[in-house]
C-alpha cells in the first residue's frame, strides 16, 4: 500500500502532445478517479505509472520512491483493464490463483489468499466452475479478483465497468467502494462516466486534452473552476448562454439578447476587466424553475420537447425558437410541446464564466 505522485509529467506521441504538465498526488489508501472523455490521456497516465510507457519529462513516485528507472515488474502495481480476459479452460479458482502461481507462492498460501479474496467478492460459489458458466457480473468479479489477489502497492482500474449493462454497473459501483474500504488499498480509477466518478471517487481529477482541469471532491459539482468542468459534471449537462455583462444605474446585468438577468449580488466577485464584455451564463437544468404565469424577472419560453422519465421530466425549451436549453421539472407537471411557460433562474446557483479564459468567475 502506498500513495503515488506525478510531477510535471509530459508525453508526446510524434507531434501530438498527449499529456501536458500533469501534477497530482494520490494519498495512501485513497480512491482517486481520473475523469475525462476518451482520448483525454487517462490510459497514458496509467501506462506511465505502471512503467509501460516512459514520460518525456517529469517524474513518477510510488510511495516516497522515485520509480522513473524502476522496471515494470518491480513497481508492484496491479492493473485492471476493460478487456481483461479469463482463461476459458481454467476454473475460477485457478484463474484467480494464476498471478500467485507465477510468483511461486507456497500452495497453502495460495489457497488461503484465493479463498479470502473470493469471500470478499462474494464469488465462492464459482470457484470450481469454468468461465463459460458465469453471468456477466460473476465474470467481472472473477476478473477483478485476479487483479487484487496479489498484494500490490496500488491498484489501477481502467474503465472496468464500461462494457457491462446499466443495472450491473450500479451494483458494481457499490461493490468497488466496499471492496476498496475493506481491502485498505490505494485505488486509481479511470473513467469517462461522470456518474461513476461522482459515486465512487474520494477525489476526482478531471482531464481534457492532456491537461488537468480540476482536482477536488464532488463539491466541484457546485464549484466548477472552468467551463469544461461545469459542462462535464452533471446530467443533463449545464446550460450555457452567451451574454453581455452590462452596468446600468448601479445594477449589474447579464444581457442575453432575448432576456436579461440582474446579477448585482455578484458585483464583488466579478473583476472590472470583464465588465461590458462577453461572458457565458451557466445554469443547471434543475436550477431553472417553472412558473404558471409571469413574475418579476421571469423569462418566457416555449416548450419544444418533453422527456417523461418517470421520476422527472426533462424539457427542451427555447426563448427564440433557436437557442435550446434544458429544464428539469417534477414528474406530475401537465406540460406539452408547444406550450408557453415562465422560467425563474435560481440566482444562488448560476455561474458566470469568462469567455476568454473559460474560468468560472461566480
Amino acid at each position: 500500500m502506498a500513495g503515488m505522485r506525478l510531477e510535471a509529467v509530459s508525453k508526446s506521441f510524434g507531434k501530438k502532445q498527449v499529456l501536458k504538465d500533469i501534477n497530482f498526488e494520490v494519498k495512501d489508501k485513497e480512491f482517486f478517479c481520473l475523469l475525462g472523455p476518451p482520448g483525454a490521456g487517462k490510459t497514458t497516465i496509467f501506462r506511465i505509472i505502471a512503467g509501460l510507457e516512459k514520460p518525456d519529462m517529469g517524474h513518477v513516485y510510488i510511495g516516497d520512491e522515485l520509480v522513473d528507472e524502476t522496471p515494470i515488474a518491480e513497481r508492484d502495481i496491479s492493473m485492471f483493464f476493460e478487456s481483461l480476459a479469463l482463461y476459458p479452460n481454467k476454473t475460477g479458482f485457478e484463474n484467480i490463483a494464476f498471478p500467485l502461481r507465477i510468483k511461486k507462492l507456497p500452495e497453502d498460501e495460495i489457497q488461503k489468499r484465493v479463498m479470502e479474496i473470493a469471500k470478499l467478492l462474494r464469488i465462492e460459489h464459482v470457484l470450481n466452475r469454468l468461465p463459460s458458466t458465469y453471468s456477466g457480473g460473476e465474470a467481472q468479479r472473477v476478473a477483478f479478483a485476479k487483479t487484487i489477489v496479489r498484494p500490490a502497492r496500488a491498484i489501477l482500474l481502467d474503465e472496468p465497468l464500461s462494457n457491462i449493462d446499466a443495472l450491473l454497473r450500479l451494483e458494481m459501483r457499490i461493490e468497488l467502494k466496499r471492496i476498496h474500504e475493506q481491502l485498505g488499498q490505494t485505488f486509481l480509477y479511470a473513467t469517462h462516466d461522470q456518474a461513476e466518478a461522482m459515486a465512487m471517487g474520494e477525489r476526482i481529477c478531471i482531464i481534457d486534452k492532456g491537461e488537468i482541469k480540476q482536482i477536488g471532491t464532488t463539491e466541484m459539482y457546485d464549484k466548477p473552476k472552468n467551463r469544461f468542468v461545469a459542462s462535464y459534471i452533471g446530467s443533463p449537462p449545464m446550460n450555457f448562454f452567451d451574454c453581455t455583462l452590462k452596468e446600468e444605474e448601479g445594477r449589474l446585468l447579464l444581457d442575453q439578447g432575448s432576456f436579461r438577468l440582474d446579477i448585482s449580488r455578484f458585483s464583488k466577485a466579478i473583476p472590472d476587466s470583464v465588465k461590458d464584455k462577453e461572458v457565458t451564463l451557466g445554469v443547471r437544468p434543475e436550477n431553472i424553475h417553472l412558473l404558471d404565469g409571469p413574475s418579476k424577472d421571469s423569462i418566457e419560453a416555449k416548450v419544444m420537447v418533453t422527456e417523461r422519465l418517470g421520476s422527472k421530466i426533462i424539457l427542451d425549451m427555447s426563448v427564440t425558437g433557436k437557442d435550446m436549453f434544458k429544464v428539469v421539472a417534477p414528474p406530475d407537471q401537465l406540460i406539452k410541446p408547444g406550450e408557453i411557460r415562465w422560467l425563474q433562474f435560481e440566482l444562488d446557483k448560476v455561474h458566470v464564466i469568462d469567455k476568454v479564459t473559460d474560468e468560472v468567475l461566480v
Binding site: 466496499r178 461522482m198 418517470g310 421520476s311
Partner: protein, 363 residues
C-alpha cells in the same frame, strides 16, 4: 404518415422463439420504442418490419395494407441500423446527398439540405472525409444523416445513438424527437437504454425473451409496471424489491418481511383477489422512500447505511433494511458513516405489490 400494425408476428430459429406472437399497433405520426435487454427480440422485430427478415408466421400491415410479403424497397421506409450502411468510396457529403440526388433535386437545394443536416448532427467539419478515415461516432452520424435527409414517412432506427458520447446522446435524443414531431413521421426505435426509450417515445413496448411484457406511455409503464421485469427494468436507480409474506390479522393485513411489516389493510381486497399465494414482492422506487435521522412516525423502519453516492444534484443511499438491501434517494447534502442507523418512511402511494410466483403486479 403511416400506421403500422403487427399481428401475431412470430420468428423462430430452430427451437428458439426470437419473437413470440407479437401484436402491436404503432399509431400514425407517433414514436414507439421497442425496449429490452439483448436477446429480447427487438431487433428481429424491426428487421421483419423492414422486410429484411421473413416472419415464421403473422402479418405486418402499413395503413391496413398487408406488406408481409412485400420487398423492403416497396415498403418505402427509412432504415438506420447499428452497423452503418455507408458507401465506402464516397465522402460524407456524397453519402448524405445520395438520397436527394436520386430524387433529382437541384444542386443548390441538395447543398443546402446536406449542410443543414450536417450541422444538425454536428458533422459539418467532416463532410470531405471518406468512411475509412471516420471514427465510429462519425460513421454513425453519417449513416443517420443520409437516412434522415430523405424524410421517409416511416423511419426504423436500431440503437442509432449507441456510439455517441453521453452528453451528445442526451442532446440528440431530444433533437431527433423534435424532428420526428416536425415532419410527423412514424418511428419505430429500438434501444436497450430505458432512459432513451422513456425520453423519446409516445409509447414504449417492453420486450423480454421474445414476449411483449407491457405496452404503454412512459408515465404508465413507470407508475404501473405490469410485471416484476418491467418494474425492475424501468427507472434508474432501479426499483427496490423486498420479499415479504402477506399476512392477515383480525381485520388488518400486512406485508411481513421478518424485520418489519407494512400495514396494507387498504389493499387487502385486491391482494386477496389476485394473489396466487402468500409470497409477495414489495416494490418501492428509491424516490418513494425518505431518510430521517429520527423516526418520523410509528411506521418508519430502521436501516443501516452501507454507502452513499453524492451525485451532485442528489445522493443515492445504499442501506440495509432487515435482510434486504435498498437504494434510497436523498438530498445532495446527505452525509453518514457506514453502518450508521437511520429511519425510512415509505410513500404509500408509490408502493407496488408483485406476486412472487407469477411475477405479475397486483398493485
Amino acid at each position: 404518415m403511416t400506421e403500422i400494425l403487427l399481428e401475431k408476428l412470430r420468428k423462430e430459429y430452430g427451437d428458439l422463439i426470437a419473437v413470440n406472437d407479437l401484436t402491436l399497433k404503432v399509431e400514425d405520426k407517433t414514436l414507439v420504442s421497442l425496449l429490452g435487454p439483448s436477446g429480447c427480440g427487438k431487433t428481429t422485430t424491426l428487421k421483419m418490419v423492414a422486410g429484411l427478415l421473413r416472419p415464421t408466421s403473422g402479418s405486418i400491415y402499413f395503413d391496413g395494407r398487408d406488406v408481409t410479403e412485400s420487398s423492403p424497397k416497396d415498403r418505402k421506409i427509412g432504415l438506420v441500423f447499428q452497423d452503418y450502411a455507408v458507401f465506402p468510396h464516397m465522402t460524407a457529403y456524397k453519402n448524405i446527398a445520395y438520397g436527394l440526388k436520386i430524387k433529382k433535386l437541384s444542386k443548390a437545394e441538395i447543398d443546402k439540405e446536406v449542410r443543414s443536416m450536417a450541422e444538425f448532427l454536428n458533422i459539418s467539419e467532416i463532410l470531405g472525409k471518406k468512411p475509412y478515415r471516420m471514427t465510429q461516432r462519425e460513421l454513425q452520424a453519417v449513416s443517420l444523416a443520409r437516412t434522415l435527409i430523405t424524410k421517409p414517412s416511416i423511419l426504423l432506427l436500431d440503437e442509432p445513438l449507441s456510439n455517441l458520447d453521453a452528453a451528445f446522446r442526451v442532446k440528440m435524443r431530444a433533437e431527433l424527437r423534435r424532428l420526428q414531431m416536425e415532419i410527423e413521421q412514424t418511428v419505430v426505435y429500438v434501444t436497450h437504454d430505458q432512459v432513451e426509450a422513456m425520453a423519446m417515445s409516445d409509447k414504449v413496448a417492453v420486450m423480454n425473451r421474445g414476449l411483449l411484457e407491457q405496452y404503454g406511455a412512459p408515465d404508465e409503464i413507470y407508475k404501473k409496471p405490469a410485471s416484476r421485469f418491467v418494474a425492475g427494468f424501468i427507472g434508474t436507480p432501479p426499483m427496490n424489491f423486498i420479499e415479504c409474506s402477506f399476512k392477515e390479522e383480525r381485520d388488518k393485513a400486512y406485508l411481513d418481511q421478518g424485520t418489519f411489516r407494512m400495514d396494507v389493510t387498504h389493499l387487502k381486497p385486491i391482494i386477496k383477489a389476485c394473489a396466487t399465494g402468500e409470497e409477495m414482492i414489495l416494490g418501492v422506487r428509491p424516490e418513494d422512500m425518505r431518510i430521517y435521522d429520527k423516526p418520523p412516525s410509528r411506521e418508519a423502519v430502521e436501516v443501516a447505511i452501507e454507502a452513499y453516492e453524492p451525485m451532485g444534484s442528489e445522493s443515492i443511499v445504499y442501506a440495509k433494511l432487515g435482510h434486504s438491501y435498498v437504494r434510497i434517494l436523498a438530498p445532495a447534502t446527505f452525509k453518514a458513516e457506514s453502518n450508521e442507523r437511520r429511519y425510512v418512511a415509505f410513500n404509500m402511494d408509490g408502493i407496488h405489490v408483485i406476486d412472487k410466483k407469477t411475477e405479475k403486479s397486483i398493485v
